[in-house]
């Protein structure tokens, strides 16, 4: 579990007042990605085979992670890079701050990085008087707006062009028109100056290739290239789960990633960075640092069911098909990884006391598992984490409120002692008759009121058992009366 204690994630509370603009914007994005993905997958007859191999390799890497990380470290060092190990988020922040101070960094440009969001790096840099600027257009917009991402691939999708124009006008002191192309041009010009001025570039990585110590960064805009090419200093902060064995493995993941994420065959830019620059004139950083972030991952590895979450290659395909995500958006998940993968990631990284609602934020419909390019059994892990919340396990005690645990015990008793159930079946229709209007129950007492506030309940009929008995007695006195004496 992460060392930074996280505030409680109130999924339910958020879900009760989702701003209506969010689902509509999010659904526009997800439906485009879903269609794009489907088209790319249809083109590739070996898709299912690739998914299986991708899954096998990720699992293999997780099970041998110490070996691959050791190889990675050796290879990065051999290439002239400097490796730092960060056990905690605080360790990682201090490592980056120390390097930044040593190099008198005043401005750092950042390429989209989940790991730096995880450790709250921007905040730490700002506190030390270092400007940390997000440069992915969507991340830049939400940084200006001071909000979090609503979608993993298009983080500012919840904002309309008019809102972005107003934001640019206010923050950049210009008169920005509500036109996406113009707004992108303004961002290009503004950020271009920053790329050229920054003393430090900060990135994450999509993959770390243990074989050669290579950082693989996939982007579309080119900001990732700018951050790792223009400043003389490059620091990559990367979770230890991003390691893969070798370049042969990479052939699989590069084929899976963009197709699953955006419906592209390959993203526009894929960089393979092995250490700092070798020649003065080639551009690229003089100094390259890799911060390998644990922050609780090594503890999660102990759980053979839960650790499959580390197979994730952060494509967002699971969120794009998730009907829950599509109706609440990314903010509801209260962490920087949202959607179904966030619902199994956050409770393991932040602990179930903070994130106990997330494993329940699913109907277990299974659409996510169908599209996951590395076959993470998301519904299985959701159920696994629900068990951790409901009854506790080796990793955490139960965090389920007592009334629900008591209700579950009573339900178990009633359903296991069939005479109680059958008795209930006889009296319930009479009791519920009070609430019946015409052929529906428009509003029922708690907890069924939570059902009827959205739609009526059909009336309790519960007369099949009686019908069966009467019919059996009449028609076939000896046959098929079942196995009881009733």
């Amino acid at each position: 579990m992460s060392d930074d204690t996280h505030t409680y994630i109130g999924f339910e509370e958020y879900s009760e007042h989702v701003p209506p603009s969010i689902p509509s914007a999010v659904q526009q994005a997800t439906s485009r990605f879903v269609d794009g993905r489907a088209a790319r997958v249809a083109e590739l007859p070996q898709w299912e085979q690739l998914r299986q191999i991708g899954s096998d390799i990720r699992l293999h890497t997780i099970e041998n992670m110490d070996v691959y990380l050791t190889r990675l470290e050796t290879a990065v060092q051999a290439a002239g890079g400097i490796v730092h190990w960060a056990s905690t988020a605080e360790d990682a922040r201090q490592i980056v701050l120390k390097i930044a101070k040593e190099h008198n960094v005043r401005l750092a440009v950042k390429s989209k990085s989940m790991a730096t969001e995880e450790i709250g790096l921007n905040h730490a840099l700002e506190a030390a008087g270092i400007e940390a600027l997000e440069t992915d257009l969507g991340e830049y917009i939400i940084q200006l707006a001071g909000t979090g991402p609503s979608h993993i691939i298009v983080p500012a999708v919840h904002l309309k062009k008019e809102e972005i124009a107003a934001l640019f006008s206010e923050k950049l002191n210009i008169d920005a028109p509500a036109d996406p192309i113009e707004l992108a041009r303004i961002a290009r010009e503004t950020l271009r100056e920053k790329f050229l001025a920054a003393e430090m570039g900060i990135s994450g990585a999509n993959f770390l290739v243990a074989e050669t110590g290579t950082l693989v960064i996939v982007t579309n805009e080119g900001n990732g290239r700018m951050c790792t090419t223009m400043p003389d200093l490059h620091i990559a902060v990367v979770g230890i789960d991003k390691v893969i064995p070798d370049w042969e493995s990479l052939t699989v993941f590069l084929k899976l990633l963009a197709r699953s994420a955006t419906g592209q065959k390959l993203s526009t830019y894929t960089q393979f960075i092995t250490g700092p620059r070798r020649a003065e004139g080639e551009f690229g950083p003089k100094e390259f640092h890799l911060v390998l972030l644990d922050n609780g991952r090594s503890k999660v590895l102990k759980d053979p069911v839960g650790r499959e979450v580390f197979k994730c290659i952060r494509c967002g395909a699971c969120a794009n098909v998730c009907p829950v995500y599509k109706n609440v958006g990314g903010f509801a998940y209260g962490w920087f990884i949202s959607g179904p993968i966030g619902a199994i990631f956050a409770p393991q990284m932040l602990g179930t006391p903070a994130a106990r609602e997330l494993p329940y934020a699913s109907t277990l419909c299974g659409a996510c598992a169908d599209v996951c390019p590395v076959k993470i059994p998301i519904p299985t892990i959701l159920r696994h984490l629900r068990r951790r919340v409901a009854q506790g396990d080796d990793f955490a005690a139960s965090t389920m409120p007592a009334p629900i645990r008591i209700t579950a015990s009573l339900a178990s008793l009633a359903l296991a002692q069939n005479w109680i159930y059958r008795f209930g079946t006889r009296i319930l229709p009479f009791f519920m008759r009070i609430f019946k209007r015409d052929s529906w129950i428009p509003s029922a007492p708690y907890p069924l009121s939570r059902w009827t506030k959205a739609r009526p309940l059909p009336p309790f009929t519960a007369s099949f058992r009686k019908w069966w008995n009467v019919r059996s007695a009449k028609a076939k006195p000896r046959a098929g009366t079942g196995t009881t004496s009733e």
Binding site: I57, E63, D66, T70, L137, G138, T251, A279, G281, S298
Partner: protein, 211 residues
């Protein structure tokens, strides 16, 4: 040095320093190439699908095509890789004759950023995705394909490789590689596709025909 991260991982996985690596699962087979002509067409077609402008060109056609590119795009400053091919084609002198300023590819980044056009070659080409693969060196500086608003790559069919497998086998020891698949793009504002957000807005690819 005592590495607690590695120790914690081993303890969670029930491993020690001596535990051997298990066998990595096998990788699928590479795609099989077709004829050079059809691989070339495939490549050019894929480049067009990702908003690149791709064409076949004879060495004799370079001067005229470059002239119209410069005129159409109002190119005043250009930078290019040091390449024997470009010298043979006389790229630099053609550009100078068109009144274009040549900026050294190893110039200061601020000067490079003022270039309208950056001309590179490529080390490998991937037909399936329309991808240019570029190594980095003092002769092939990374900024040439990144800072100018227009990127022109002059390539040859010999650079075609069937699949990622072959490119990686040849290039994995390189300290820097970049794959370029189309011009810089974003859809971050209301999902409107916009080209040229941080990298080049236009990507031209000229495939030199062998003769």
């Amino acid at each position: 040095m005592n590495n607690t991260v590695i120790e914690n991982i081993r303890s969670s996985l029930g491993r020690t320093e001596q535990t051997p690596l298990s066998l990595r699962p096998a990788i699928y087979e590479s795609r099989q190439p077709e004829s050079v002509d059809s691989e070339t067409e495939h490549f050019l077609e894929e480049v067009r699908k990702v908003s690149g402008v791709a064409q076949k060109l004879s060495p004799e056609g370079v001067a005229a095509t470059l002239k119209s590119l410069v005129a159409e795009n109002n190119i005043l400053k250009a930078t290019l890789w040091h390449s024997p091919l470009f010298e043979r084609l006389g790229i630099e002198s053609i550009l100078r004759s068109l009144g274009v300023d040549i900026v050294s590819p190893t110039a200061d980044k601020h000067d490079m950023a003022l270039c309208d056009l950056g001309i590179t070659g490529a080390d490998y080409l991937l037909p399936e995705t329309g991808t240019l693969v570029l190594r980095s060196s003092a002769e092939q500086p990374r900024a040439v394909s990144l800072l100018p608003r227009i990127h022109l790559a002059i390539v040859r069919p010999e650079m075609l490789r069937p699949d990622l497998h072959q490119v990686f086998a040849e290039a994995k020891d390189s300290h820097y590689l970049v794959f370029i698949t189309g011009p810089s793009r974003t859809a971050d504002i209301e999902l409107t596709v916009t080209l040229g957000v941080h990298g080049p807005k236009n990507l031209y690819i000229w495939m030199l025909e062998n003769r």
